[in-house]
């Protein structure tokens, strides 16, 4: 993935998430969703650094990770619309999609729930000696779950090839890290397991990409796991309908100055990789991709309730 492709992908994820928020307001999709606006550099930087054989798990805030990994936006959108053509045929919704064919093992909507699951995918890689690295995304909130400790201890003990990527986006729902973390530096916890812990600017595409590449190599060499903290900011609310009463608009305005897409665009323009005209064209293409996804989803058939009984067991 070159930097222009990364920029396009970050724009598409942003526009996809903005479309989701709009579609909720318009009553065209139901249920709930958690958007990753402001965190696109983590998803795309990671995806740009890993190999096709690698695996990824995500969180409840997972559209960006999935799209960065190569999901078809049409089928992600169709899942949000509850259609048969969605990744989980309308059974999963925003938080429950999986596509092992592209090494994407999803999430389950429980905070921290994917941490041991990802580690199991890594255990399989070790048992079969496939050279696969599994990237396990989770948030600052999940880092306080007991399963984080249980799993990091076990993964470190067995030297499993798993890269634990914690997206520290400043808030666990409404709770700021200052009120949720006794030590706000999550990477520090790595020392408790005798593994490497690194903190990186999660809004810097290049920093994320290079850091993931470096530490994925460590995992691949059998010297993992590694705990990588990407410090970012959730520009969107927690979920649909979050009035964001727990933080000020001034704080948000300052955070928008650090928008990862803006930062990448500025840098690419400064080094001559991107022009204003090209950027505009790329954004238009990304918007067209999202619009196509919505059209595809809305024109897709509803799933058949009669199929549910057949699906209970494999």
């Amino acid at each position: 993935m070159d930097t222009i492709q990364a920029y396009s992908l970050m724009c598409m994820i942003r526009l996809f998430e903005e479309a989701i928020e709009r579609l909720f307001l318009e009553g065209r999709i139901m249920g709930t969703a958690h958007t990753c606006i402001g965190q696109e550099a983590v998803a795309v930087g990671t995806a740009a650094a890993i190999e096709a054989r690698d695996a990824m798990t995500t969180t409840h805030r997972g559209h960006g990770h999935f799209l960065a990994r190569g999901a078809d936006p049409k089928r992600v959108m169709a899942e949000l619309f509850g259609r048969e053509t969605g990744y989980s045929r309308g059974r999963g919704g925003s938080q429950m999609m999986m596509d092992p064919a592209i090494g994407f093992f999803g999430a389950n909507g429980i905070t921290g729930g994917s941490i041991p699951f990802a580690t199991g995918v890594a255990l399989d890689a070790k048992l079969r000696d496939t050279g696969r690295v599994t990237v396990c995304f989770f948030g600052d909130g999940a880092s306080n779950q007991g399963v984080f400790h249980e799993t990091l201890n076990l993964a470190a003990l067995w030297k499993l090839p798993v890269l634990f990527v914690v997206e520290n986006n400043g808030y666990a729902m409404s709770t700021p890290t200052a009120r949720g973390l006794a030590n706000p530096h999550i990477a520090d916890r790595a020392s408790a397991y005798g593994i490497t812990g690194v903190s990186v600017d999660g809004n810097d595409f290049f920093a994320v990409r290079d850091c993931v590449a470096q530490h994925a190599a460590v995992c691949r060499a059998g010297q993992g796991p590694v705990l990588l903290e990407c410090v970012t900011y959730r520009l969107s609310g927690h979920s649909r309908g979050d009035p964001r009463v727990y933080r000020s608009r001034e704080e948000e305005a300052a955070a928008w100055e650090n928008d990862p897409i803006l930062r990448l665009e500025t840098r690419l323009k400064a080094d001559g990789t991107l022009t204003d005209a090209t950027a505009k064209t790329l954004r238009e293409k990304a918007q067209a991709c999202v619009d196509d996804a919505i059209r595809f989803a809305e024109s897709s058939p509803l799933p058949d309730p009669a199929s549910l009984q057949e699906d209970l067991f494999a």
């Binding site: 695996a55 798990t57 989980s88 045929r89 059974r91 999963g92 429950m96 999609m97 999986m98 092992p100 093992f105 999803g106 389950n108 909507g109 429980i110 729930g113 941490i115 041991p116 699951f117 990802a118 580690t119 199991g120 995918v121 890594a122 255990l123 399989d124 890689a125 048992l127 079969r128 007991g146 399963v147 249980e150 799993t151 201890n153 076990l154 003990l157 549910l308 699906d311 209970l312 067991f313 494999a314």
Partner: protein
């Protein structure tokens, strides 16, 4: 024929499955050199090594979640939860991940969770519970609860080869029991077929796991008194063989259900309701439950006995009905 303990046949079955399929591996606390808290996996590490007889830290949630991830990635893990009480620490992974994999994501999850429920050993309130009720109401998990060595072996083979998560109950009072079994391991037994352990015309006793073992003994005693009891051993709670239950209920008109766990909110209540739905017009007597007390299982021998279903209550109810 030969005589073996329940433990021995489970161990032989695990070994056979490990030899048959390289994607099968065992994982749990102290299952390696120590051989498991009840000795079921004793010696297996010598043949299969520590990679496939994998000791874990005391981390039930992590080991269960790791097994689920490995299963979806293509392995066939068989995990041991040392006492069924400890499964509470892994409920999130089982309920929110394992049970959802096929119905929601359309992905197979070939996982077996072996665990011993049950009291009778004085282990106290957190090492004696029968918690299958927690999972019976969670669609997406199969539950097997054998009452004898041959069924346990046959059902365990099926569980390991199944592409879904199977909760496999090995009641701790069955482990040391000896059973006459064939020289070779039995062939796998499909889930959802109850065993008519004893045919009878007067009344039906429904049970699973160790209580089915108890029921057979009670029926033999009742036979000496001229009461012809049918005993139905469920073998699997999910899927439930309601056809065999309903047929028996229609024929005898009298059904008692044995359950080791507390009476309130138990699986016996579910069976009673299903029998009412399928056979109420044939019933001579209301369906009755003989179950554990609604009290945590105490440690002292006499107090524990007071909280577990009583053998004498089975006989008394049968005599009351047929007297």
């Amino acid at each position: 024929m030969r005589s073996v303990t329940f433990t021995q046949l489970i161990r032989e079955t695990l070994a056979a499955e490990l030899r048959r399929d390289p994607s099968v591996f065992l994982m749990g606390e102290d299952i390696g050199v120590y051989g498991g808290s009840f000795g079921v996996t004793r010696g297996l590490i010598d043949e299969f090594g520590p990679e496939r007889i994998r000791d874990t830290p005391i981390s039930e949630q992590a080991l269960t979640g790791v097994a689920i991830g490995a299963a979806v990635a293509g392995q066939r893990p068989v995990i041991e939860i040392m006492f069924m009480d400890f499964i509470t620490l892994a409920v999130d992974q089982l309920v929110n991940m394992a049970a959802k994999l096929h119905p929601i994501y359309g992905r197979p999850c070939p996982l077996v969770i072996r665990t011993p429920p049950g009291g009778g050993r004085g282990y106290g309130a957190t090492h004696s519970q029968s918690l299958e009720r927690l999972f019976a109401g969670v669609p997406g998990i199969k539950i097997a609860a054998p009452s004898n060595a041959t069924d346990a072996s046959a059902l365990l083979q099926t569980a390991i080869r199944d592409n879904n998560s199977v909760l496999f109950l090995e009641h701790k009072l069955l482990y040391p029991q000896r059973f006459d079994v064939e020289d070779d391991l039995p062939t796998p037994l499909p889930f959802g077929f109850a065993r008519v352990a004893r045919e009878g015309e007067d009344l039906t006793i429904v049970a699973w796991s160790h209580q089915a073992f108890v029921a057979e003994r009670a029926a033999a005693q009742l036979a000496t008194e001229g009461i012809d009891a049918e005993v139905i051993d469920l073998r699997t709670l999910c899927p439930l063989d309601i056809d065999t239950l309903a047929e028996s209920a229609r024929r005898t008109g009298r059904v008692m259900i044995l359950e080791e766990g507390p009476k309130t909110g138990g699986f016996a209540a579910e069976i009673a309701a299903q029998i009412m739905e399928h056979a109420h017009e044939y019933l001579e007597k209301p369906v009755r439950r003989i179950a554990g007390a609604d009290f945590p299982i105490p440690s002292a021998k006499n107090l524990e006995a007071a909280c577990l279903p009583a053998y004498d209550d089975i006989l008394a109810l049968a005599r009351e009905w047929m007297g």
